[in-house]
Structures are given as C-alpha cells and as structure tokens.
Symmetry: C2
Subunit: 362 residues, 2 copies
C-alpha cells in the first residue's frame, strides 16, 4: 500500500498542533501565534498537501449562486446550444452534490438596452459569480466595473472584452478563424480566383467579431509565401427578408471567377439556398452547427462549417466558476477553443459525440 494521502489530521500530528490550528493556517483565518504558524508551515513545505476536494464540498455547506447572462435563443438559435451547455454543467455538478443555484438571465441579442437592463438585474441580485456573453462592448464595460468593485468573479464567453477584469475568457481566436476559412475556401482552387466575404447580420452587434474574421481571411491571401493573390470582395447584407437581399446575392453570384463565398455569421444557409440551382462549383464556408446549416451541409450545398462548440464552451464556463468558488482553483485567463472543421463527411461524428459527454466526471 502506497503512502496514503495526507490529511489535515496528519499535518496536525506532524506539526504538534491541533487540527484547528492547521485549518487556520491553511485558510489564513488569523488567530494563530507566529510560533505555531511556523511549525505548520514547516510541515506544509516538506509535504505536498493536496486537500481532498470532495471532502471539502461536503464540509462547506454553502449554496453558491451563479448568474448567467446570455442572449435569448428564441431570437437567435445559435444560443440554444450555449443554454444547453449551462444546463448540462448545472445538472452534472448537482450529481456531485454541488448545490449551485444557476439563475439564467436572457437578453435580446439585437437590443443593447435589453442587455443593460438584464445586467442591472443580475448585479442587483448579488450572485456569487457571473457567466456572461457581453455582445455589446460599451454597454458591458460599466457592468464589469461594478462586478469587479463588488468582488464578484465573472467569466466572459464568446466575446472577449480586453478591458474587463474577467477571471477567464472562453471563446475562439476570430482572426485565426478567418485565416482558416481562407485556407479551406482556397484549397485546390486556381490562383486567379475571386472570393466574397458576406456579413449577414440584421444589425451590427457582431461588427467587431465579423471584422476580425474578415481581417484574418484577407491576411491569409496577403501572406508573402502565398502565390495565389486571390481577389477578395466584401459585402454587408441586410435583413434576409428584404428584396434587396436577393438582388444583392444575384449580383455577387455574377462576380467573375467567383470561387467561393465566406459567410462570417451563422447564416450561410441563406446563401446556400440562393445558390442552390445556380452554380455548384462555388464553395461555401460558414459557421455554426445550427439546424439549417446542417441540412445544407448534408446535401452538399455547404462545404465547410467552422464549429465554435458553444455547448462545451458554456459548460466549461460553469465548471470553471464552480472550480473557482468551491475549490479556489485558479484558471488560465484565456481559454481558446480549437477551430473545428466540419464537413459533410465528419459532421455525424461531431453530433453523436456531443451527447456522450453528459455524465462523466471530467
């Protein structure tokens, strides 16, 4: 039998003090004489004490409240997966007897005021921690300031706000994402080909996001070692319902030597539908595994989707907060998710895998 794990009790014996004193030293609760503290610290330096996290959660019988502030998935289906991820994290932790009360707040991703309003409510509810997708830069800054001042830890997801003093950001590198899109769209194409970048977004909440993706996309072709100097055209399209939308697409389709379309939002399916009968040779690269996109991917109308894995992102956010609150575990300030490439051939392997991750410890 190997050396059993060291308990507080063991440390107490080794240091010649009581368990209570060790506890006070470990948690800086004060009320310890310098002499006793030194004795304990000496032991702690020599042995590698790892508290039993399981026992810890049993001991502290606190009920932490985590507030989430996410876009309403009724407005944008993309956020459904995030919501599910939060739920998954919640139930999983509950399984382990970790009683987290997660309070969901939703806001309209198209309305800044909706975010501000919800943020205010979240703050006034005084949660122990917050998970937030701060789509609106300027509206979120004062919110983060308040949280920081109130010492409420928070994790940002999806949208990175550098100035925010977040515990951690969970998301993707958008610039690289654009580069990847460029690589995929140009793979095997002629060097004199033209590409179109389409920003389809009813408003400009995502403008920073989209710009960053486009920057990466263009940068790829400007790289010195690239021989193909493809031409890149950018289009900003309005609401898909309008007649101008169709007209614009028709114009884009007429671009000479058009080899592919990069849709910077999750709306690639709209383009796919319009191009359906026109020209199969035009490659389409888009984002996110929402229903409509999946359909287009499977029938070959879309060639590549880049997956953000919002479900796992959100779940990780909840887990990270729990780790922080309950176990005082530190977190890397930046957690960038891999840029997952989804094609007609591997899409099924991604979909089936997601469900399997439900009830496992880590």
């Amino acid at each position: 039998m190997q050396p059993k794990n060291i308990r507080i009790k063991d440390i107490a014996t080794l240091a010649g003090v009581s368990e209570g004193t060790v506890d006070r030293v470990l948690h800086n609760r004060g009320k310890v004489s310098e002499i006793a503290a030194k004795k304990v610290r000496r032991v702690l330096d020599e042995i590698n004490y790892k508290p039993n996290l399981i026992a810890r959660t049993l001991g502290t019988n606190r009920n932490y409240r985590i507030a989430t502030l996410m876009p309403d998935h009724k407005q944008d289906p993309y956020w459904k997966q995030s919501f599910d991820g939060i739920k998954a994290g919640e139930t999983q932790l509950a399984q382990f007897g970790i009683h987290l009360t997660v309070e969901h707040s939703l806001f309209d991703p198209h309305k800044k005021e909706s975010f501000q309003e919800a943020a205010l409510k979240v703050f006034h509810s005084r949660p122990d921690a917050v998970l937030v997708a701060p789509l609106f830069y300027y509206a979120s800054i004062p919110f983060f300031k308040e949280l920081s001042e109130a010492q409420i830890p928070f994790i940002t997801i999806n949208t990175r706000i550098q100035e925010a003093n977040a515990l951690s950001f969970i998301g993707q590198d958008l610039f690289k994402s654009g580069q990847l899109a460029a690589e995929l769209i140009s793979m095997g194409q002629n060097s004199n080909v033209a590409f179109a970048v389409l920003h389809i977004d009813e408003d400009l909440t995502n403008s920073v996001h989209l710009k960053e993706k486009e920057r990466g996309f263009r940068e790829y072709f400007e790289h010195p070692k690239m021989k193909s100097h493809a031409t890149v055209h950018t289009y900003v399209l309005g609401t898909p319902q309008s007649s101008t939308f169709r007209d614009q697409l028709t114009v884009i389709l007429k671009t000479p030597d058009l080899g592919g379309v990069f849709v910077s939002t999750s709306k690639a399916y709209l383009v796919a539908a319009a191009f359906k009968n026109e020209n199969a040779a035009i490659r389409i690269v888009g984002y996110d595994l929402i229903k409509q996109n999946l359909d287009c991917l499977q029938n070959g109308q879309i060639d590549f989707l880049i997956n953000q894995n919002p479900m796992r992102q959100a779940k990780l956010g909840i887990q990270t907060l729990a780790n922080n609150l309950l176990f005082q575990k530190s977190t890397p300030p930046l957690h960038l998710f891999p840029l997952e490439i989804i094609t007609p051939q591997n899409v099924s392997t991604y979909l089936s895998h997601a469900g399997n991750l439900s009830g496992i410890i880590v």
Copy 2:
C-alpha cells in the same frame, strides 16, 4: 430556498422506515421484508432520488486498482499521448480524493507475444478494472474471456473487438475516417485524378485498421452521386529504412495525374519528406499529431491530418472506469470520437487547447 436535494434520510422518513432499510433497498443488499421494500420503492418512484456522488466516495473507503495495458510509447510515439491521458485522468481523480491505483503495463506494439505476456500478468494481478488497447485480435480474445469470467470490467480503446464483452469501446469510426480522408484529398481536384493509398507499417498489427480506412476511402469515390470517378491505387510499403521503400515512393510519385496521397498510418511525414522537392501539387493526408507530422504540417508539406485525440480518449477511459467503479454509472457501449481535421491554420488552436483541460471537474 428551493427544494433541497433529497437524502437517504428523507426517503426513510417518507417511507416510515429507517435509513438502513432504504440503504438495503437501494443496493439490493437483501434482508428486507417485502412490505418495507414496497414502502421504500413507492417513495423512490415518486421522487427522483439522485445519490450525492461526492458523499458516496467519502463513505466507501475502498481503494480501486485499475490496470492499463497499452503499447509502449518508446516503440511508437503515437502512444505517448495516450499514456499522458491516463496520467492526466489519474491525477485529476486524485485531486478529488478518489484513490485509484493505476498500474501501467506496456507491451511492444510489434510483438504479439509481448501483448500476451503482459495480458497474463495483468490478469493475475486481479485488478478491479482494465483499460486496454487490444492491437492483436486473436491474442486478445482469450484475455477478454478471462476478464469477463472473472467479472472484471474493461474498456477497450483504439481497436474495437466486437466479440469482447467490453464495458465500452472508445475510439473512432475508421470507415468514416477513410471517407473523410477521401473528401479532403479530392476537394477541388479534377475528376480524372488519381490517388494513392499508402499503408506504411513495419508489420501487420494494424492491418484491420488500415483495411477499414481504405474501404471508406474507396467507397467515397464509388458513391453514385459522385461525378468524379477518381482512380485509387493501393500500396503496402515495408520498413522505411529499406532502399525499396525509397524506390517504391519514386514509382508512386510517377503515377499519371497523381493528385494526392493518403497515408493510413501516422507515418505521413516519411512521404512528405520524400516528396518535398518533387511536386508541391500532390496533396498529402495523414493521421495523428506526432512531432514529425506537425513539422510537416506547419511547413506545408502535409495538407491535412486527421486527429484521433488519443490523450482525451485515454483520459476518458480512466474517467469512465472510475465512474463505473465508484458511482455505478452506466456507460454507452460505444464512444466514438469526432474525426478532427487538422490543417496548418488550425493546428495551433488544437495544441493549446489540450493543455487547458487539466484541472477542471469535468
């Protein structure tokens, strides 16, 4: 305050029996009258009792021993990541006070006898559970039979043995993997192009694996809706050290209209090196993120790698066994990992992500 989680104590009160009786019913320990059992079951049916898994591990003070039986990574670097994954799972569980003793057994992936020998030792050590990569079909069958008879649960990884009565198989769909390779290699190519499938393996331990991948690869081009009827040539190459190896590669390179090479093992870098100065237009698709492949990917010699994520697979294996032993959690018998596409542009996002997953609960 919301309805607090239901404890055994609560069930006992509701059913009008003692905690001991509830415990006996829950665990089928017998010694319960039909009347009492019925009372308890009635309560259990109505409420949704979820045992506090954390408290459970504290209560049962058993020390489980898990044996692993994996190829030696000194013989094949691919298995290094699996080994690290096992270690990662181990330390993570230790953090939670779950005292698993993991006993590592390694075998020479090229020698069947080595596997048999190691398997025998593993069995005689009478572990509580086993995680094994059964590279050798016929050698593993009796091993699995023994384990089953001794009621020792085991999980197979990497190689699926249908006949084995494994708790779960963790790996990938190799047929789909071949299809994916075909998709990637043919993307944007002419329809009259030729492709070469290269099986580079010093011996034939992986033969089933490789055949399955090739089957998928070929099937892709035979699909009725595919217009391009590319020709596919298969080559089985011997040891890379031999002179015939180089000669064979030179011959392959001369194939008319050769559009790409699909290397079914992790040895794509060997091909990349040989083709380096010859012809940049030939696309190379291979497997696994080992050092040499990564180098080739980054300098553009390899176009695509399909990642098996052996580290996460192994870690999941350990976690799943722990879940099974400690929490009696059931497991899906098949856990197929997504087929991850790695390109020069997204490889860095995969590498950085791996490290971040160290200390999180799930």
